[in-house]
């Protein structure tokens, strides 16, 4: 049995590796042993992880350091706290301002949809943002797959964030800074002052941008940067190597060093804008959401719908069962919707049901354009395996909002999804194909 001092020291080392997500399987076993053996260690574990989470959310890191006011008599301490409280109240009042811009506002909400929470730098949480609101630095979280927001910095640089995403924004003396912890972001960046590029961080990469249009998808293990205009300098954090990504090129930066880290062209060289109009899903490469089912007997590899709750203030929560499949999001070539394009969706269900098929379109030269959908009554009663095939004309799909372009033709398709509202329908998608102009 270890001396309490010894296990605490060892425990701290293991917990440090745990919260930094660098713990090995052997170390985790060791941690388990300590936690199992010493009840006090369990309490220590909770304190340590609680401290880590609190530090992640702490807004006190900018507070006055030791000796600058939090000492002295009780009366002085109360006065200090009252002053701090007044400052916080003032900060809260100033975070969301429907009125004209003040110098310290950094951006404006242009449009938004779905459940979105904004936390200003002072820690005040706001979940009723509106188009036109001015914001200062803080964190934006789009909570559901159907959420999205368009944000315009005061210099006209615009970002679009979509799906479940978490990002922190700031703009100060060092220039603009965006920390995309997860999710999809598209940016159209106005020319930035010399020496003050817009810096964008993700869990696995850092990008510096002086003025360009690019799309970025940040996952826990890798970041995909696709540049449409200008030049973006991308650093892979795993080894500090840097790639200059020019227009019409993309790069994938993983958290490990083994995979290729090299800017590659979007598509066919020689075209002013390279894109393709035909596309076929490939699993597991294109899986963004859903339970992948391995091939069994006559059934090929397929993606089973997972439960998902869309929440949005002022609307009833929408519980459904969905899959999400990356198109341009996971392909090395942007996929463009042509005039007569149509989707061929193959899948299976255990019972007949209504199925919604939808996709997200981006403007080909960057920026979120809209979401489009089509409902279909799918009858599988005559098919012993429950197989179905849908043929959906892109031009006839409905925009989710009336301010999205009426026709998605010409847009880049970023990702697509299929859903039902019935769990027992057992929706599985075998493949999605985009058939271009013929």
């Amino acid at each position: 049995m270890l001396d309490p001092h010894d296990w605490k020291q060892r425990l701290n080392a293991l917990l440090s590796r745990l919260v930094e997500e660098s713990i090995s399987a052997e170390e985790l076993s060791e941690l388990e042993e300590i936690l199992e053996e010493y009840p006090d260690a369990q309490q220590h574990y909770l304190h340590y992880l609680g401290l880590h989470v609190d530090l992640q959310h702490s807004k006190s890191l900018d507070a006055a350091p030791a000796g600058s006011g939090a000492t002295g008599s009780k009366v002085r301490r109360i006065a200090f706290l009252a002053g701090a409280a007044a400052a916080i109240v003032l900060a809260i009042i100033l975070f969301i301002q429907p009125g004209p811009a003040e110098p310290s506002s950094i951006a404006r909400i242009v449009k938004l949809s779905g459940a979105i929470v904004w936390t200003g730098d002072g820690g005040k949480m706001v979940n009723s943002l509106n188009a036109g609101d001015l914001i200062k630095g803080g964190t934006l979280e789009t909570l559901a797959a159907n959420s999205w927001a368009e944000i315009e910095f005061l210099d006209g640089s615009t970002i679009w964030v979509s799906g479940s995403a978490l990002l922190t924004l700031s703009d100060g003396e060092q220039g603009k800074f965006i920390h995309l912890r997860r999710g999809d972001l598209s940016a159209d960046v106005a020319a930035q002052p010399a020496g003050k590029p817009l810096r964008l961080m993700t869990p696995s990469a850092e990008a510096e941008v002086l003025g360009t249009q690019f799309n970025i998808t940040a996952g826990p293990d890798s970041t995909r940067v696709s540049v449409n205009e200008g030049l973006v300098s991308v650093e892979r954090l795993a080894d500090g190597s840097v790639q200059e990504v020019p227009a019409n090129h993309l790069v994938v930066a993983a958290l490990e060093k083994q995979s290729e880290f090299k800017a590659i062209p979007h598509g066919v060289p020689g075209f002013p804008w390279s894109s393709i109009e035909g596309w076929q899903s490939q699993f597991p490469r294109d899986v963004r959401r859903g339970d992948l089912q391995l091939p069994v007997a006559q059934y090929p590899m397929r993606l089973r719908a997972k439960s998902c709750l869309w929440i949005e203030e002022g609307r009833e929560p929408d519980l459904h069962y969905s899959v999400n499949i990356g198109v341009s999001a996971t392909s090395r070539v942007p996929v463009r919707l042509s005039e007569n394009a149509r989707f061929r969706v193959r899948g299976r269900m255990t019972s007949s049901n209504r199925v919604l098929f939808g996709f997200r379109g981006n403007y080909l030269r960057g920026g979120f354009a809209g979401k489009y959908f089509s409902w279909r009554d799918v009858d599988v009663s005559g098919h012993p395996d429950g197989n179905f095939e849908l043929d959906i004309e892109v031009a006839k799909m409905t925009p989710q909002r009336n301010y999205f372009p009426a026709s998605p033709v010409g847009l880049e398709i970023f990702d697509c999804w299929a859903l039902t509202h019935e769990e027992r329908a057992g929706l599985e998608i075998i493949s999605v194909e985009l058939i271009g102009a013929e």
Partner: protein
């Protein structure tokens, strides 16, 4: 109030707290996020049964706990997950700790002001901006593991400080 609107209001307000609870059991952000999505589904499915005269968070945590166990079962063959018996123990310890968590948070705020400028800088780098620790290591030529060791020590110091503050305020278990 419309029950659906009340659900949206309570869930958006308390999601972070439930996330924190799940993270204690599943200390990998991406896995915890998946579980939270499942929790939100379950809460909505059971919403009709929720007694609105009772607090929302404990009710939500019951479902979160079940989802943690379900996740654990699915990951049974993975080596990087805690055993079910340990999860039970952590969950029980969490219940005991819950009443003092807010007090600990307040104590931490005060303890942060006691860090020296260098320590504050490390904490700000680590928690303020992802990747900044590595950048700083490159800039200063200090080896990365030394910076992480420094952070480990600072977290230890902060824990000690929070414990001392709690004891001063009469919390004997801290």
């Amino acid at each position: 109030m419309d029950p659906a609107a009340e659900f949206v209001r309570l869930w958006t307000r308390h999601q972070a707290e439930v996330e924190r609870y799940v993270y204690m059991m599943i200390p990998r952000a991406v896995d915890a996020g998946e579980v939270i999505q499942e929790v939100s589904v379950k809460l909505w499915e059971k919403w009709e049964r929720y007694d609105q005269s009772r607090p929302f968070v404990p009710w939500a945590k019951k479902f979160a706990w079940l989802e943690v166990l379900k996740w654990r079962q699915k990951q049974a063959r993975e080596r990087l997950v805690f055993s079910s018996s340990l999860l039970e123990k952590i969950n029980a310890a969490h219940e005991e700790e819950e009443p003092v968590m807010e007090i600990r948070r307040r104590a931490l705020k005060n303890c942060l002001t006691k860090l020296n400028p260098q320590e504050r800088k490390w904490v700000k780098l680590r928690y303020g901006r992802h990747g900044a620790v590595k950048q700083e290591a490159e800039r200063t030529g200090v080896r990365l593991h030394k910076l992480y060791y420094a952070l480990e020590k600072i977290r230890g110091q902060l824990l000690e400080c929070v414990g001392r503050t709690m004891r001063k305020e009469g919390w004997s278990d801290a």
